[in-house]
Each structure stands twice: as C-alpha cells, then as structure tokens.
Symmetry: C2
C-alpha cells in the first residue's frame, strides 16, 4: 500500500478516542469542548428560501459575509466583506492555512500549549513547530523575540482570547507587543478566536490582527461555541494578499460551505436576539465556572495549581508533582471519569507532563463534585505509586 | 511571501470565472452543472431535533451511514455502515484521497477527459497524471493495460456512469474488464458516481467496486444532484484497509459534516418520497435532454459530433474542425452565452482542443434555441477566421 509520505504523520486523535470511550451515559466527562445542550438556542427554519438548496458561492453567502465583516469592523479589524470567506467550521481554516503554507520542514510558530487539532493538521502537512511559552497574560516576549531573531516561520498561530487549552487571555500590552514584533519581523499571523464571546467578566480586547501595520494575517472565528456547532459554519477574514489563494483552496476542498447553516447563522449574527442569547450564555457558563472552581478547591487544592478562567470552556491544571497524565486515562475511565491529558497540546508531549484540561461547560452539575473527587483520587493514587 | 510549494500549482478555476461572468440575468448559460431550480424538492425542517445543533461524529450520523450502506448494498457494493464516511459534498472525497495518496510526483491515473475539479486538486497535491482515453463505452482497454504494465499508479480515478464531462456510461463488459485489470495489477480504485440516479433510459449497471476481488477502493456519491446541493452532503464508502485513514483526514479537515444537512438527507434516502422524486427528476431532465438534442441538431450538426447522453447533465461536443475552445469564451460571453471549454478537462489541455461541455439541465428552455444558435455562430466565426 503506497500512501503519501504525510500519512506517516497522521496521528490517531486522542480526544476522539476519549470521547468515544466517554459515550457511556454513566461517564462523567470533562474531556470535550462541547457547548451545554441546555444552551443550544431553539432555531426556526420555516422561512428559509428553497433557493438555499442550490449550489452557492465558494466565498459564502454575500449577506453573511457582509454581516461578518461588520461584526469584525466593530471589533477593530479593518476589513471589507470581500475579505471574508465562510468555511465549514473554523477547523477548515487550519486546513486551508496548512495547504497555503506548509511543506515538509516548513517552520511555523505556536503557543505552548496550543490547540490540539491545529497541531495535528500542521504536523500532518509536515511543519516543524517552534513554540513560545505562554504566561498568564500571553506569550513570553523575550522568548518570542529570540525565536524570531533566529528563525523566519511561515506563520505564527495564536489564540489570544481564552486560549484552548490554557484559558489564557492576552493583556493589552502583550497584544500590542506581539503585533509590533510580527510587523518588525514580517511574520504572518493566524489568529483563532472561537471563544471571544464567552467572556465572564465583561472584559474585551481588540484582536491582534487589528493592531498590525504591515504583516499579513488571517483571523478566524465560528458560530460553534455561541450558536450551533452542528451547522459547521465558521469564517476566516484575510488580508487581501492572502484571500485569493485561500478562496481557491476552499473551492478545491469542498466547493462551498453548506448554505442552510449559513442561512441560519445569518438569522442571528448582529441581531438583538443573538446579543440576548450571548448574554444568557455568559451567565450560564459563569455559574458553571464558579461551581467548578469551588469543587476544584475542595478536591485539587493540594494537587494542582490553576488560574480561574475569565472566559472560554476550560480549566487548565498544572500538577504540583508532575506525571504523564496520559497514564491516568485508563484508571479514570475505569472509574467513569473522562478528562483530557495536557501532553498532546504540546508539540513535544513527552517534555511537558503534568497538565490536565478540564471542560466545565458540559458536565451535569449534579455530578461535578463526584467526578472531580474521583479524578483527584486517580491522581493521588498514581502519585503514590510513583513515589513508592 | 513564502507559500508552500503546492501553491505554485494552485490554478484559477476557469469554471468559477465563467460562472461569475454568467451571473448577469441576460446570459444564457450552458456552463455549470447545476440542478434545475424547479426540481429542487420542497423540504421540511420542523421535525428536526434540536440535538442536531450539537457537535457530531466525524464518521457522520449513524442512521445516515446505515441508510447509505443499505443503498450501496442494494447496488451490489459489499459494505457495512462502518465503511461509510459522510463528507461535506463528494468534492471532499477528492481532497481526502489526495491527502491520503499524493506526494509531489506521485503517479495517478485518470480518464481523458475527466472531472475538472478532480484534476485540479490532484495536481495541487503534486500528482503526475497518467491518462487512459475514453471511448463511447468506457476506457480503451489496451491502453489501460499498457499503462498498468509500465506504471504503478497510487490509484485510478473513474466516473463510469454518465461521466462528467463526456456523458460516457461504461458497458458491462468494460466494467468487468476494468475490475479484472485493477485486481491483476493491484491498483486502488476511486469510483465517483454523482450522476448514477439521473438515468434516462432506465439502464443501470453495478459499480466497478462491486466487481473487485482484491484491490482497495473508495466509492463516492452525493445528494447534490438528486436532492439539494446546498446541503453539502456527500459520502464515501471505502474498503476497510483505507477507512481509518480517511476518517482521521476527515476529522482534521473539518471535524465533521454539517448535521442539519445530514438530518435532511436522512429524511429522503431510501424513502418512497425520494424514489418518486427521482422518477420525476428523470422525466424532467429527459425532456430537457430531448429538447437540447433537437436544438443541437439544428445548429451544430455541421459543426460537431456528439453522443446523446443516456444520463447525467451534459452534452460533450467534438468539433469537426478542432480549435482551442477557450478562445471562444470572450466572444460567447459578449453575446450573452456561457459554455465550458473542453480543454481544462484534460491533464494536458493544449494537446486536446476542440471539445465543448454543454449543460442541458439549467438553461431556460425558452432561450435554449437562441443560446445554441449564438454559440454555433461564435464557433463558425472563429473557424472562418482560422481558415482565413
């Protein structure tokens, strides 16, 4: 069987396997990044024109592109509708970016830790991953400058707002500093913002792409975390030098994004109804975050350190006594608990043991305490075994 | 700007440009492959469960996979639901296959002519394209054997039923012979069947994959030509050795196919309602085909040769005096007529002048005659200029 060379880098997805194992109804899962089912808004389809069933434009629905551009401009991103490409979920942006930039051995730069599925597809295409360590307010700037002085990555991929997995939100100062560095070194920025709207303290900061003066950029977002992931509607906005290439790559990937989902998204983007929904969503998740924090304090305060996330869907725990958290999975699942080990969020998993990513949006609150108690027990047991 | 090496092979899509030019309402377009708007069935959404809004499985909806497997088995394809992957339109199957097989310089085999967008994505990934000429009943078998004796392509890509662009339907004998050759030489088959259901003479022949005894295979289909292209719901069925790789590639491409479209497709696949709709669709397109044939006889009988298509959406004309039909485009558009030049359907366009692909499903019947008359005029004028 002669597969392509890249298939040798095609990894099994740990998160898929965990989610499959967590299908049993008795499992208490902290593993995924799923919105709470209770907060999926009721949507209407009765008014959708039949014409939405026909083939559409690769760029996306014109009215939706206009609406997305208007939203982006309100955030400070300088753009026109002609720079907006509707994609099949923002994961597709990563696929298109990989195709646009990555040959075997192409150097790219990412945060450490970073989004698992980004790492997977960039590595599938053969990227050499340079990383910059994240601090509580964004990347370590000295390290970032040092890397940029030595290397010229094809792009840097950043998730500055409620990062997955770390929940980090970059400060204003670091956003400015990162933008200035990318302009100075002429490095393209891919800025991924699925969690921007899920803010619990009302804080907001303009995207880094809006602070760039020279560097090329791709900004990507989605309705998956705020409306319905099942629509598979995301978008990218690109600087004009990149857009035509991304459009052709989109066309060759799947012709265009499904129009029924685009139509539904258009009913919400920019509407009063959507603003109300987002406000309810923030309140709902804030309550879950607070309950999670309480339960964590009860069961993990001696075991781990963490920052309270101000947005997004995850707590990121750092064990005081590091161990490879992947080794905890089987025992946790045996006790009907699923979680996401931290190692796969690093390009060098084996060098970064001792983190856990815990989703707080999807767990049944009635079972939260029991789930974290069992998980803490699994950690304690493993640490005792390690010490013995 | 340091793009990937593959971007140097990223072509502008001629068909996109033509379709964009043909947006003016006064244009009579034979260019696209769009279903007739009048035949898009009215669909209901009221019963869709809210849970379809949540993230879904990368494989696709379990019930839809079962239904698609049952349909495929009824066609003679030996498969289980576990071999079915729901994709974002069957174009995505080509993207996944390209990722699975093609490095720069990988030899693959295709029909000449073949589906334009397949050629584009395979070439984007760097494929070296071997071709086998099509005859009225399928590929030239001597040429196919000769190629296979000299080369070992990673796969062969075939569209045996109402091929786009040529409308060719392989005979039973050629289907058997092709299957035997692929088994003999151990070549993987990718069989693309978007037009299977659009048969006008009631004829049917089992897919080639159902005749294979040893070779690996991917069979791909879609609801785009029979239900609604705007759903972006297609599927692939793969031999078990290939499936796990394709599944991981699907996940990295866009996580999963939109669930609302999958739910809608499931309301139709295998139902009485769908069978009735397909029957109406065949009757409708047969009438359009017949009207087109009449108009062609009037305007093109001295200019070109063609076979009357027994299915699908296209006439494939071969000019008696070949010329590069791409040179006709501007003049045709100036006369408000759009068509698809034949050259881009060949891996070596410049060596294959003198074909036109004409879509008969989408043109307003009232303007059909005028459109073909003008197009014939453009051809005549160019041939006179060439002779002068």
């Amino acid at each position: 069987m002669a597969f392509s060379e890249r298939v040798s880098r095609l990894k099994s997805s740990l998160i898929r396997e965990i989610l499959a194992a967590a299908q049993r109804p008795e499992v208490m899962s902290f593993a995924g990044g799923l919105p709470a089912e209770a907060m999926l808004p009721k949507v209407e389809w009765a008014d959708m024109p039949l014409a939405m069933g026909q083939y559409g434009m690769s760029e996306g629905e014109p009215a939706l592109r206009e609406a997305l551009a208007a939203e982006a401009r309100a955030l400070g991103v300088p753009c026109e509708a002609s720079q907006v490409l509707v994609v099949s979920g923002s994961q597709q942006t990563l696929d298109l970016a990989a195709k646009l930039y990555i040959d075997k051995g192409t150097e790219i730069m990412l945060e450490a830790p970073t989004y698992l599925a980004a790492l997977q597809i960039f590595q599938l295409f053969g990227a050499d991953c340079l990383t910059v360590p994240l601090e509580a307010d964004g990347p370590n700037l000295n390290e970032l400058r040092a890397r940029l002085e030595k290397h010229h990555p094809a792009f840097i991929y950043l998730i500055p707002t409620f990062q997955n997995p770390s929940a980090v939100r970059y400060s204003e100062a670091k956003r400015d500093a990162v933008a200035a560095l990318l302009d100075e070194f002429g490095v393209t920025l891919i800025e991924d913002e699925p969690y921007r709207e899920l803010t619990f303290d009302g804080g907001s900061a303009t995207p880094i792409v809006s602070r760039l003066k020279k560097a090329s950029w791709i900004y990507t977002g989605t309705v998956s975390k705020t409306l319905l992931p099942g629509l598979r509607v995301g978008y990218l906005i690109a600087s004009p030098d990149l857009f035509p290439h991304l459009l052709r790559l989109k066309q060759s990937a799947d012709l265009h994004t499904n129009r029924v989902g685009q139509w539904q998204a258009l009913q919400w983007i920019g509407s009063e109804k959507f603003r109300d929904h987002l406000s309810e969503l923030r309140d709902f998740y804030r309550v879950r975050r607070d309950a999670f924090q309480l339960a964590l304090e009860t069961h993990f305060c001696d075991l781990a350190e963490w920052n309270v996330p101000q947005g997004g869907l995850f707590f990121w725990l750092t064990l005081k006594q590091p161990l490879d958290t992947r080794t905890l999975l089987n025992e946790a699942l045996a006790q009907d608990v699923a979680f996401m080990p931290g190692e796969p969020f690093f390009s060098e998993p084996d060098n970064n043991p001792g983190h856990l990513r815990l989703n707080f949006s999807h767990i049944d609150p009635a079972r939260l305490d029991e789930g974290l108690k069992r998980l803490a027990g699994v950690v304690r047991q493993a640490q005792a075994a390690q010490a013995a």
